[in-house]
């Protein structure tokens, strides 16, 4: 599970390095963040642990999965949403200004 998270993060980094289309860069950042969140969740979990919810069946059970990474991931996902929203807004403004989505063309016309 941990390896999958790391692989997704590296896919995101690769996407960020090779793409020059702004929307694809934003998607690559999203993949990076998804990989990171997956990695965080996988930290708190081992074989055989169950969801940390107290119900009639499993009061005071001692094999709850760690709730802390799940709480961290909640926050991290929302932060990712916020940054993606702003990135998309700026991308749209850039398209209006330059007429293209290619970042090389925008930087070249300095």
């Amino acid at each position: 599970m941990h390896i999958v998270g790391v692989i997704l993060m590296l896919v995101g980094v690769y996407g960020l390095l090779t793409n020059r289309h702004i929307i694809k860069m934003i998607i690559a950042i999203n993949i990076l963040e998804i990989g990171l969140n997956l990695f965080i969740i996988s930290v708190g979990y081992s074989e055989g642990l169950i969801a940390p919810i107290i119900t009639d069946i499993n009061k005071n059970a001692s094999n709850f999965a760690d709730p802390l990474p799940q709480a961290l991931v909640l926050t991290a996902i929302v932060i990712g949403v916020g940054t993606t929203a702003i990135l998309l807004a700026v991308a749209r403004k850039l398209y209006q200004q330059y007429g293209t989505f290619d970042i090389r063309e925008m930087e070249g016309g300095r």
Partner: protein, 226 residues
Amino acid sequence: MKKLTAIILVSILFVLLFINMFNGSLNFDKISERDADGNYYTEQPTSANMVTSVVVDYRSFDTLGEVTVLFVSSLGVAFVLGGLTTRVKSNHSQSFILKVGVDVLFSLIILVGAYIFIHGHLTPGGGFPGGALIGAALLLKYVSNDTYRANIKGFKALEGTMGSIYVLLGLLGIVTGSFFLENILDIGTIGNLISGGLIPIIYVLIGLKVGSELTGIFDHFMNEEV
């Protein structure tokens, strides 16, 4: 050429990380000390869903920060894309069945979203997924109908009010002589709908706030200049 260098770079990174992380020097099997030391969080749970009690009670300040992040994002989107007033017209004609279908589904989705954030302390989910569902319902309305505009002023007022109430609830903790964001209401019995003190109230606030913020963001994206 560029892709090749990027692939080489990324694979070098992967190999480095793999060697350093998975060769046994970092052991991921070890459960964190919190659990190994006797299940801290379960000994004094404040709500049935322990993740909720971590997010809203123990780490309420983080949640306040997260709510602020969304707030700044929606402020930022409004700032960058501000002042656009007419709806973007889509290229194809609007289908009547789509419109009616969405109108039917709309209330159902809002109901499910509200259910999720009201029961956040009992079942998985909570304020953020619930609010996101409400935002998604409104997005559906926007997409299906070319002339629809939600009541943006109302949503912005809702957003600001909910955020302020959250902070004021935290300040109540200071006023009653204790610390900021203390859970001052009675906890009640775990597992009931009314339990957990401030937790369900805060989740309702967060759910409504997230829903209105996402709606505001969608509205800005769906508009353009004349």
